[in-house]
């Protein structure tokens, strides 16, 4: 491999270095991945948190490279791997639109597929199209492409003794509760199905296989027209414990809030187990993780303690409602619409903000006017404070002075607040 690329890749200063490396050496990702046992994590929501939990688990077995800053495009992955010692483990989150390209280059042992729902529609196109691209990519990464799409069919034998990826393709750890993910994953040779839940179903009502109608019950789903259905799961998780592939129950308590993060932990523990880290050991290592690149952590914003939550689409909001401080505690909601957020914030109308009734919402961010109109029609009390730091101060003034203010922001609004904050 070229000397220039090695020079460019070394100490290249993160993402910029990654860009330069890829320009000079388009095969950099494949080269840097060679000899490394890696897990890719993708999906609309939970990528960064699941990857962080996975790193905690894998680190018990050895040094683990990761793109912890959320830089999940190919050059971000190159930057992350450039800085790591050769060999060893890697846990990498991958933008859902780039999964095929990255998997072809990185040849991971495990791919975790969390969920797919509407997000950045101006950029990422349609959900079903994305699921179809995942499916093609996973069928083409060296597996035999066995379809096994039939009702309840789990393709391959995930409990086989052969090491992960020994057949040439990755083992896919996939959320059995998301029909789009099941459609994508069932093109792969080996799949471990995890019952990870799905609280936003509106993007999964059309059958990805036959365009018929998916019907959901509390714990299952199936297509009324073609019989495509939720596969039997190998792994499940509830409020008390995770049940692993061998049927062993592992009680665990996370520091991170919410049911979605218990599911993320189960996905991560399953992936870790495929690389040789026992589920119990993996979960124990995840329990102390209390903050993920600023998310869930308490920071001081303009002197005010604020619990920082990231939510950037309707599915993400469904999880947030689950653990927001209850009414009448005020909440700050910060909305931007830059490229990384999606230019079109009309998704605000898919979020049931009516559930914030009984409290004051402080609307802020560059698109706070869109949010204010949405809240008016939701009949939720609100004030608009354009400056985000001033908005946090306003929520402090309106609420209980002793508790941190809950702040929910989408991507670039979150970054703006994080830059303005210091750790509490």
């Amino acid at each position: 491999m070229g000397r220039a690329s090695r020079l460019a890749g070394r100490g290249g200063g993160g993402v910029i270095g990654g860009r330069v490396t890829l320009l000079v050496d388009p095969d950099a990702l494949a080269r840097l991945s060679a000899g490394r046992r890696s897990v890719l994590v993708s999906g609309t929501n939970g990528k960064t948190t699941t990857t962080r939990l996975l790193v905690a688990a894998l680190a018990t077995a050895g040094p683990t490279a990761t793109n912890s800053g959320g830089a999940n495009l190919p050059f971000g992955l190159v930057a992350a791997l450039s800085g790591a010692a050769p060999g060893g483990l890697a846990a990498l989150e991958v933008d859902e639109a780039y999964l095929g390209q990255v998997a072809a280059a990185a040849r991971p042992e495990v791919v975790c597929l969390l969920n797919l729902s509407r997000d950045q529609l101006d950029r990422i196109s349609e959900v079903r199209m994305l699921a179809g691209r995942w499916r093609q990519a996973l069928a083409g990464t060296g597996g035999d492409g066995a379809s096994g799409v039939g009702a309840g069919a789990a393709s391959g034998d995930p409990s086989a003794d052969a090491p992960a990826g020994a057949h040439g393709g990755p083992v896919v750890v996939a959320n059995a509760d998301d029909p789009m993910v099941v459609w994508a994953a069932s093109g792969a040779a080996r799949v471990v199905w995890v019952g990870a839940g799905l609280s936003w179903r509106l993007d999964a009502t059309g059958c990805p296989r036959c365009e018929g109608r998916i019907q959901f019950t509390d714990a299952a789903w199936s297509c009324a027209d073609c019989g495509f259905a939720r596969p039997d799961v190998h792994v499940s998780v509830d409020d008390g414990a995770m049940t692993d592939r061998s049927g062993r129950r592992h009680p665990f308590t996370l520091s991170l809030p919410g049911r979605c993060n218990r599911s993320n932990a189960a996905m991560a523990a399953t992936a870790a187990s495929l690389l040789g880290v026992d589920e119990a050991q993996a979960l124990t290592a995840m329990e102390p993780v209390a903050e993920v690149t600023g998310r869930y952590g308490v920071m001081r914003v303009g002197g005010v303690p604020a619990r920082m939550l990231l939510s950037k689409n309707p599915a993400g909001w469904m999880e947030i409602f689950d653990f927001l401080r209850p009414a009448p505690s005020p909440v700050v909601v910060a909305i931007n619409s830059r490229i990384a957020d999606g230019r079109d914030p009309s998704w605000l109308w898919d979020v049931p903000f009516e559930r914030l009734a009984g409290r004051q919402v402080v609307a802020t961010g560059e698109r706070c006017r869109d949010l204010a109109v949405r809240l008016r029609y939701a009949e939720v009390d609100h004030v608009m404070v354009v400056d985000a730091v001033a908005a946090v101060a306003e929520a402090r003034r309106l609420g209980d002075q002793s508790a941190p203010v809950d702040v929910v922001a989408n991507y670039t609004a979150f970054q703006r607040l994080r830059r303005a904050a210091v750790d509490a």
């Binding site: 009502t205 059309g206 998704w347 109308w349 898919d350």
Partner: protein, 272 residues
């Protein structure tokens, strides 16, 4: 309040409601046609009636239930190709929308929902499919870059509406037949994409548009035009927040010069 139908073909008389019967607002198949927050249009229409003292029944007709033909206002939104096809097939069966329109109901159809109301529309692979034929439009598959971005529209004169703002994101190009009038003319963005600067269509009480946002959140006067065509004259509401949003959007979007020539920079909207 502007006169309804000023640019449109004749339609049945206004159906002003009595005090005891609720106005029925029907959101058509939001599980199929609701990708871009367009379900908000039904909520907005309902609230604007409730705030004025009308009894309202908001019906979200999911695709596994029959769309009632007895609604007063219908909303259809945007959707992906497969969902659009399913919605068209289900609406063709029994033709509830056609019956409702014949009875004087109003319809607001956005993007994929707009296309479905016409004679024909394209599938993702370019194959033409039959629409409901409720309005005289036809949509074909676009060949260039997908129109995605802010849309600013000057409404057709006679509608009595102020400048409109929305966000478009569509692959189809729509042309109007002689039986349809445009909703307006494009100041910024692409709109119908027929090369004539037209946006949307109006036929009687049926309005189609490519504006998401949702369109009624950004354009409350359009909401009241639709409602007044069904219930008659309306009292004004406090729309200061929507006006603030409108002002910000209209100021943020670059309006091309009189030459009307497009430059890619016109699509970049963050000049804050």
């Amino acid at each position: 309040m502007p006169e309804e139908g000023a640019v449109a073909s004749p339609s049945p008389p206004s159906r002003r409601r009595g005090g005891d019967s609720a106005v029925r607002v029907v959101v058509v198949h939001p599980d199929l046609l609701g990708t871009y927050g367009d379900g908000g249009n039904g909520l907005i229409l309902s609230r604007r009636l409730q705030w004025r003292g009308f009894a309202v029944e908001l019906i979200e007709a999911m695709s596994d239930s029959q769309v009632p033909a007895s609604g007063d206002v219908y909303c259809l939104g945007g959707g992906e190709d497969a969902a659009q096809h399913r919605a068209a097939a289900e609406l063709a069966a029994g033709n509830p929308l056609g019956q409702a329109v014949d009875n004087g109901a109003a319809v607001l159809a956005v993007c994929a929902g707009f296309q479905v109301l016409g004679h024909r529309y394209p599938s993702a692979d370019g194959q033409m499919r039959d629409g409901l034929g409720l309005i005289d439009i036809e949509t074909r598959k676009g060949t260039g870059r997908r129109p995605v971005g802010e849309l600013v529209v000057t409404p057709s004169s006679g509608l009595g509406l102020p400048q409109m703002t929305g966000y478009e994101n569509h692959g189809g190009l729509t042309s109007l037949g002689p039986g349809a009038q445009p909703l307006g003319h494009v100041d910024a963005g692409i709109g119908n994409g027929g090369g004539d600067g037209r946006e949307g269509a109006v036929v009687g009480r049926v309005i189609g548009t490519y504006m998401h946002g949702p369109v009624l959140a950004r354009n409350p006067a359009l909401a009241d035009l639709i409602l007044s065509s069904v219930v008659g004259t309306l009292d004004p509401l406090d729309d200061s927040e929507a006006e603030s949003l409108r002002a910000e959007r209209l100021q943020t979007v670059r309006i091309p010069g009189r030459s009307g020539r497009w430059h890619w920079r016109d699509r970049l909207t963050s000049r804050r």
